[in-house]
Each structure stands twice: as C-alpha cells, then as structure tokens.
Symmetry: D2
Subunit: 356 residues, 4 copies
C-alpha cells in the first residue's frame, strides 16, 4: 500500500517533497535530489493541466452515493515511473453498495457500520464475490507499451487505448533508474537478481536512450511529420501512421481509459501488487491499491487481510502444519511436498529455521 | 420507447392517471379503470417506501459527471407487469464519457455538442463499440422467475439475486391481464397468436391463480413458517428453505440487482425490446429504454436509428434491392432467397405489395 | 470425488449394482433396494437410447489428442438425482495441451511425464491460470429448474437450454428421497439441519408430489395439448407455450448443453462440490469431478491437492498458526479473529481441541 | 476468402508455386520471383519441422465428431506476412454440433443436410447466437507485436503468449513489401493512401530494417547473451530479460496460442477481414476465414451471406431505399442522412451514380 508523506502529488509540476513508501519508493526518492539527465518527470502540457483543473472544479449535485476521500483525488494525475500516471476519472458505488446488493435491499443496505463490516469480511472470506462486482471504477493511465501488454491480459475490463493508427505518439519512453537496472535472476527464469554495477548500468541506459531516440526520430522521418504536426518535407508524402508506429520501441508510452469492477480490480491487484510481479507494473498496482483504500476502506481492509496478506495451503501442506503444531517431527521427504513447495510453505508462515 | 402522459409514476401508490404508449400500454390502461380482483398493482410496504424516500432525499456533492434527467427518477420504482418494478440505483458517466474515452482525452472529451453527436453516431454506425462500455448502470428489478430465466442469459452483467436459500420469497405471482392471454401462434412455434376468448380466458386465469396460491400455501406449510416470520406449529421443524422453494411456480416474483455497461445494455435492449421478444420481458425492456433516453440522449437517438429502427440486408438481399431500385424485374425464385427471407426483406422496407 | 463400485452406470436402465461414494451415495444406495413409488430412476425413451448408442458407435480418425478414459464414457447418461443426468458430449485437449500452451510449443509440449506433472502443479500453485483455459468440455445435463438457476450464475460458459417457449416440457420433477428431506439449519440461514422425521417427511413428499402433478396437469389443460402432442379439446385453442410454462413448479426438470473451459470448470467445481453447496447441485458437481479425473488426471490431482483439499489462511490467521507452531500461547481474543474465523481456522487444520 | 492454387503451402520450406487470391495475394505473388534481400519467408528450424511432422503423423480414434477437411491441414504452418504463420492446433465440433445444441438433442441433432442448413441460416439471420458458441478452435499464431496488440482487444478468447520475461525473442521482424508501403490517407485519419514511390520506399525500408537490427543487437548486448544461448562476455551479468525486451521495436514477431468459440471467431473475422481493417491483420483474418470454411462449411456460407457480404441500413436509410424503389425523388438534404452516411448507403447497394 502506498503512503504519501509531505506535499501531496499534484498533477502538473516537478515533485519536490514526495516520498512513496514500499516497493516503488526508490524511484522517486532518488530522482528527488538530482535528476538523471535522461529522466524527466511526467509533465503535462499547459492545455492538459487546464483540462484537468477544469474537471476538478466541477461541483455537481447527485443522489448517488459518493466516496469523499476518492473525490479529493478525482482526475488528479498521480505520477508513475518516469513519464506515466494514474488518474481516477469516475467511480460507482462505495462500501455500502456491496452490502446493499448482497441484501438485495430497497434502501442503502446498511444496518450499522459494524454489521456492514462483518458482512463484507464474511463475503470476502467465503468467496461470495458477486456483491463486489457492484462497484465500478474508471482510470486514465499512461504507461510503457511493454507494461500495457501485461496489463491487457486481464480481460474483464473495458479499455480504450490511444490509437497510433490515428494519431502520432508522444516522444516519451520509459528509462529505468539505476536502482531498477537489475540483472537477470540466476534461480528464477522470469525474475530479477542484483542491480547492475557502474559501467554496465551506464552502458545499458545509454543504449536504451539512444535506441529510443533514434527510432523515434526515424518514426518522424517516415511520417514526414513532427510530433507538433509540422511537415518535414513539403514535397513528400508520409508513410501511413498505422505502419510507421512499428518502428517504435516497446518502452514508448501509450495511454488508455481502463474501467473495471471492484472484484476484477482486486483480482488484478492481487497478482500485480505481488512481489512476483514485474516492478514496473507493481508501481501502477501500488497507486491503484491506494485508490481502493480511499474508495472502499472496509473492503480494502478485508482484501489486505484475506487476499494480499493471506496464503493458501495445499491438502498436503495442511498435514505438515498440523503436525508441526502438535510438535511432531516432519521431514520434507515424507511430506509429499517438493523442496520448492516445502520452502514456499515455511516462508508463508515465516518459519525461516525450517527452510531447506 | 416509452412515453408518459399525465401524472408521472410514483413509487408507492395506486397509479391513477398513467398511460404508457407502445407495447406495454395495454396492461396499465386496462387496470386503470377496474382492477381484476386477482391482480393488484405493485405495492411497497411502508418500510420500503421509507427506504426509497430516504435514498431520494440524498444530496451529495460530486466532481463526477451527472445525468440530470436520470437523477430525477433515481431510486424510483417504475411499475412493470402486476407486481414488478424497475429502479435505477446508480450510474456512471453520460454521453460525454463516451466521447472522452474515444478520444482518450485529458479533459471532458467534448468539443462541442454537434461534434460529439457526430462522433457518437460514427462510433455506433461503424461498430466501434468499446467507448460505449465506458458508461455503467445499475438496476433493482422485481420480475417473475420465468422472465428472470430469460434475462440471465445475458452474461456480461453483474447480478445479485434475492436468495430463496436464505430468505422466504414474497407471496406475489404474475397473472396476465385478459389482453395478454394469447393463444399459441399457429405459424411460429415460439410466438403468440390471438387472444383467448371469454370462458377459456377465465378458466386459464383461475388455474394460474389457484395453483400459485395453493403451492405458496404448501410452501409455507413445509417451511412451518408464514411469510411474516411467525411459526405455524411450534412443535414442528420446518423444511430447509433451499428445498421448500422448489414447490413454487415459475410466475413467482423474484428480485435482483443487475448492473451492466451501456454497450451490453443496448445489446440486451435490441433483442428484448424487439417485437419477437416475449411480451413480459418487453415490458421491462421498454422501461429501460426510457432510462437510456434520460441518461444518454445522444446515444439513445443513434441507437434507435441504427439498431432498433434499422435492418440488416444479406449479400443476396442487396442484389435484390439494387435491382428493384433500377426498376429491373426480380423474382423470388431467382433471387437465392427463401420465401421467408424474401418476405422478411420486403417487410423491412415496408414493401407490402411485394410480399408473397 | 466419485468412485464407482460394481457395474458401471449405463445410460438407459434400472441401475442395480451401483454405489457412489461420498456425498451423493445416499440417493442411489437407497433407491437400489426398494424404489419409492413416486421416485423412478431417470429413464430414456427407446428413441433417445438409440440416438445415444448411435453416437457411441462412432469411430472417427483424428490427428487431435484424445483422452482415452473419457472416450469410454462419451455420450453416456450418468444418472443424477431421480430423473437427471450428466453426459459428456465433446471435449478438446488433455493434460499435454496445458503444457503445450504454457510453453507456446511447436509440438506436443511434453518433455516427459514427470516434467509435465511438475509444470502443471507449478501453474496450479501459482495461479498461472490461462493454460488451463486451453482445454474445453461440453456436457448435456438434465436438472431441476431451481438447480439450473444456481448453475447459470457461472457466466463464463456457453449454454443452450431446452426452450419451453418452443416445446412442451417433460412431465418430470425432482422429489428428494427421505434422507434428503432436511430441516432448516438453526445456525446457518442458508444451510440444512437434521432430517425431517416420519410423518412430516411423508407429508412434505406428498405436498411436493401432488403440487407438481396438479400444476403439470393444468399446464396441459391450458396448452390444450398433452405431452405426447395429442390435442385435448379439438374445438379449443391452447394458451401460448411461453405463458403456460409459468404454471410449472421449480422442481420441474429442464436440460441444456453446457460448455466451458477447464479453468472455469474447476472454479465451478470448487464452489459446487464444496460441502457448503446445496446437496442437489453437489450431486452434479461430483459426477463432473469424476469426468475431470478421466479427462486430465494430472490436473485433477493438482486441483484436489491445491484447491479442493487446500485452505486459505488470512494474514491474521498466519500469525496464529506461526505462534502455535512455536508453542506460544494464543488466545482468540488477542488474535484479531472473530470467534467464527477462529473456528474456521482450527477446523481447516483439524485442530478440534482448539475449537471454542 | 482464401483460395490456394498450385502446390499447397507446406510448413517448412520456401514456397514456390503459391498464389493467394484476394487481399493478401500481393505479398506472396511478389516475393515468389525475386525476394528482397531483407525479406525472407517464414522458416522453421529442423527441430520445429520435426515436432510438427510428429503431430501430423498422429492417428487417434475418437467417438467425437471430426471435420475431415480441417484435419487435412491440422498443425500445418500456413505462412502469413514475411515471418508469421497460422496453425490450427485443435478444434471441437462441426456444423452438426450447432444443430445439436440448438435442438438440445440426445443424438447428433441432425435431421438431414437440407434441414440443418435451413436451421443454421435461420440462427445466423436472427442473431440466435449461442449455438455457434458450441464449436471451439485453437490456433498457434506467429505475428508482429503491433498486430498482436490489435488482436488482443478481442477479449472473449483464451491466450497464452510466448513470454519475453522468461525467454529470448527470435530475431525476426516484419518488413512490408514495397506494395504495402502505403502513404497516410488524406481523407481517412486511420487509413492508407497511395503506395510510396521509389526512393522514399527504399528509404523507409532501410530505416525499418536498420532500426530493427540495431535494437535487436543491443537487446543481445544488454542481455549479454546471444539468441542461441551463448554468453557474450563471461565476466559480465546480463540485464533481466523482462527489462531488456523494452528495447525491441514493435515489428518484432511474437507468438501465441489463441483459442475461441465459433461465434467470437466470426465477430473477430467480421471486423478484421473487413477492408477497413489494417492490411497486416487482414492477412491473418483471411487465412482464418479459410479454416472456418474447411471446418464448418454451412456456417461459413451463412456467415459470408449475412455478415461479411451483408450490410446494415439505418431507420432513415430504410426510408431512402423505399423511396428509391418506388421511383420517388430523394435528396440527401431531405433524407436526414449526412453526406458520409448517404455515400456509405449508396456504396453498400453499389449505386455509384447516386454518390455525391
């Protein structure tokens, strides 16, 4: 979960006093003092800032339930990675909506806060999942294409992406900070190991930066058009946009509107805020976890307890745990668990002395 | 589409001056004057009326977009059939939300109303469907079980139904008005023909009414509990609710919360407001069409023009039409169309003289 | 899981030597000796038997992978409850298909059985769920309507149901055996308690039987047509089928084709083969579990270990377990768990002495 | 639709006599004679060829229905673009399965071919879509990433993609042929115009080729590993794969297993085989259309007649057509249609003299 200290992030300026706790803090802590020349913080144009301010200044009357904490950050562009952001654009329902539909109530569905809380916890614990589908949220997200490709695998969501068939993409690409330039893990084929050291890190960053810039420049050349819409050579045609885009690298930023219900959002977050997830998508998941907290605080708490902080134990694992509690001796060899499973089980219960 | 004349329906009383146009008018026009003794209009308990009034009296501030016309009827129980209703409980977005996400805009996405309208029509015409998924609506519906079984076939929606495993169902069942007691169609195996006449109609209504009442009475006997929660025989146990419910007839009313996005709602309405749909589900579809009109008027208009009022023409049908326009002679036998297809085509274009 | 002893069930006769273990054994054990007069075993007409035999006699050549154990029971009507059945109609893929797609392989995807098994277990354990979607199965199921209504809530499946708008339903309704006539649970609002005793059980069965028969008789009267298609009164019209069906009780049998992928099938089975599920749907889930075992035995084993036989532990529960293993004293009051959660945790690990 | 003349494409060789008709013919017709040095046809390694041959040599017995024409090309890699392919890996059902489930039949569901055909056409015409969901197909596809990103927007499918977090991607990128180097359309913001001429075409191809090669080379440098698995510098670590991949361009090939039901496949094909679709995805759609023809020929024919070859006419459009048939004068200005709609309508019916 995300905690903000000091000045809250505002949508359109260089962030100065801003510390995110947990997994993604490294990014902003480091760029705070001295920005690497190749990395500039997410910037919005004057026009975009104005549009956002304009949205934020709305004050409409509604008979619908509202989530006051979420309203406070509505439309705000919370920065993610070097040029990305997450904006909450709209939402439907709050904690009471879950209770209301679980009870198929004529009214608000609430009895009193303590009863509601008990019901929400019960629903979460027993996988009575449909009431959580009764809340809906919509985000506007800016993110690197290779992350967008992971994200889109979650199919139970509605998406409208910026079209590079129709428009020219921004000249913005993701470049990791030094701290995030990790080597390939030696024991996990899809994981990261140590941070790359000095010269190699520098070399990698140079390659990423130069290739992104060159391919973007050639993208403009092929289009015969610059990002600002000016023509390069008045006597030439430009290559079709739907073709030229293929020259861009996968760290180019794209953006989309992404809408989903609370249940499917939690399914997304459970996988993508997990430490097995790729760092770059976790950054987004952490920001979104924070929006869930502001939106449906009771559900958030149950989610953290039962899903994010919880664990699953297999039938064989249950027998092992049971014996351990009874003080019986259990050997991995007799447990039916593989070494990997054994260690996963011991780690889940923080029994470090039992790792083998 | 539904038009209301005279006093608007209010949620909790006998409706006196109320005429619905189109397909479902017959129901209320007739019960207006003299109610059949076995059919009483949807009634809400004092408690339910209070809960609804309570919801309607909310006035929250929000930065979200609102749909003022829809706000006016929010939470209201619009009557459907004899005991059912449709209530809009919550919604997300309006016409501008479609435009906003189609443009992946930072702001409201609107340029000016005429441009927005053109874009929405374009999206509808060319099946660019994802922007319509960016609006969401939630209904509370009371409906007969046999209609609920048709309705639930639309899978891309979120549902929470009143649980007859957990609670006792209300003593309410659907009884058609005389006008809706149609005979089996003789030329369409899943359609209706003429209205049943006098004595037979009376007999059918008696059978429906008596069977529903007797099975409900026996439901209570098996439960050893009356609807109001009082025990029937203090010395007996009651059959489990999850079993006793199996004795109820399919015209018993159930209720649910049903939430979907605008695209899938239109898919539902296109099929269920169609004249091929069963009358009893069309009643609900017509009410919902009216809520779409209040919610997203521009989209509604495009939907009526391109989908509801439009038609599809096959490759072979196109050739026939083309020849007719050129004044060439076309015979069904040479067209590649079956007689049924031929007539469907001629009816679509209102060419009654060409029916065969 | 289901185990069959003695003669395997064949599709179209009175079952004589047939014992299903586990939850649904009671049904068939009891009807084995002496059938209650109101309960007759699922019967197929001569015509239906012939159609099934005809399908079973097919022998086609294919380059596709096959599941030999599943082929053996293909098309067979495995009886469920008193008149229902489950038939496997078609399937796609086997255990190797999961491995193949997880590896995005050009060939069969298998290396050797032990490696495949390890991979499947790994995928199951870490919720890498998409490879399990690469297998598909299709069932033909006959089931009571009130169970069909629970079942249909699983939306990620394809369904075609017998249409009572179009056809006349069979005169078949579910009547529980004495053993399944359970009273309402006193501590779980949606559960069952003890079996009803003698006279009350008899009374309940009589009510169910009589009401089902009377409503069916009146259904025919309204249709002016008997099930076999003969007209009752040549001078009368019949009520439209789409209307007459509303007079039937919820224990009337319906049937459908139901198709889903292996992942969603396991999601269904995890909930519906669970002891919290209603007995009548568990009967079907147990039969289907057995078909999964025949189809994808490696996946079945992993599913039973990690999902069906496993448990989830919340963050707070983990701390309790950890302390218990270390021999520390833990009190429910200090654990942050409610009494209910505490007992669920202790039961999950079979620590009966710790129940409170 | 695709027609093959001469030697059928076999999976793993240079294709010599091979003409695809229709939209994608240009690609292969041209590379037949003289291959551009930067474009080599899809090649499979010896190992991959062996695996495919191995699959094709399977001959299993099954009681399931089979589609003999589809069996003939099962597992075969049909070439698409310069390095891509489409392989049918598995399927479930055939035309009779649609009929079977529409009738909820105990047997094959067929009466006779003519009746089946009539039923399938009826279902297609009246949007009775669920029976088409009863057939399922699975493809193995190799395709450029920018096309994969369009494709994945079709959510009702199951997907397993080659993981560049886990493995190193092949050194293969899409380079268009000269004929496909189209300029940006001047009147359609997301379409193509004329072909680029001589020098500019050459320049564009050079840019695409060089950028793809350089970024791939740097990808290897960052990984400190070549595609064949050899290390580049024994004293260095490699950047994590999940990071290094971001340097690749969007024309890099990826591959996946993609499985869907027939209804959703037709929805995909209707949009992606349409002339508004990007050429590069149409190439794949055309190949898949051909597999549908081999698999379910009756459904294919109905699909081509009612969907692909058909058109939709709006309510206002219907009035225009009706007047034209009656020989009445109609002006665009009075029709309620915009100029664009008017022209779309006239083009749909091939009334070129009425274009304005």
């Amino acid at each position: 979960m995300v905690e903000v200290v000091g000045t809250a992030p505002t949508s359109a300026m260089v962030i100065t006093k801003f510390v995110y706790r947990h997994s993604w803090k490294t990014n902003y802590i480091n760029i705070k003092g001295k920005l690497l020349d190749s990395i500039t913080i997410m910037k919005l144009t004057i026009e975009q800032q104005k549009e956002i301010k304009n949205q934020q200044s709305q004050s409409n009357n509604t008979k619908r339930v509202t989530a006051p904490e979420l309203e406070k950050i509505l439309y705000e562009a919370v920065p993610a990675l070097d040029h990305g952001f997450v904006r909450v654009i709209d939402y439907m329902g709050d904690d009471t909506s879950i209770v209301q539909s679980a009870r198929v109530s004529y009214g608000k569905g609430t009895k009193q806060v303590s009863t509601d809380k008990g019901l929400i916890k019960y629903l979460m614990r027993h996988w009575h999942s449909t009431p959580f589908e009764m809340c809906e949220i919509k985000y506007h997200v800016k993110l690197p294409i290779f992350i967008a490709r992971q994200w889109i695998r979650h199919r139970t969501a509605n998406v409208n992406e910026y079209s590079a068939r129709y428009s020219i993409l921004d000249k913005e690409f993701y470049l990791p900070t030094h701290q995030n330039l990790a080597a390939q893990s030696t024991n996990n084929r899809q994981g990261r190991g140590d941070i790359l050291e000095g010269d190699q890190a520098k070399e990698v960053l140079e390659l990423l930066k130069n290739d992104a810039e060159r391919t973007y420049l050639n993208y403009e050349t092929m289009l015969n058009e610059r990002y600002d819409g000016t023509k390069i050579n008045e006597n030439k045609k430009g290559l079709a946009r739907e073709l030229a885009r293929m020259n861009l690298t996968l760290n180019t930023y794209t953006q989309w509107y992404w809408k989903t219900d609370l249940l499917n959002l939690m399914n997304f977050l459970r996988l993508r805020a997990d430490h097995h997830a790729q760092y770059e998508i976790r950054v987004y998941a952490d920001i979104m976890l924070d929006t869930v907290k502001k939106w449906v605080p009771i559900t958030f708490e149950a989610f953290m307890d039962y899903r994010v902080g919880g664990t699953e134990v297999s039938a064989k694992g249950k027998t092992v745990i049971q014996k351990l509690i009874k003080g019986e001796k259990v050997l991995m060899e007799d447990s039916g668990l593989s070494k990997r499973e054994w260690n996963e089980l011991m780690e889940a219960f923080n029994l470090k002395d039992k790792l083998i």
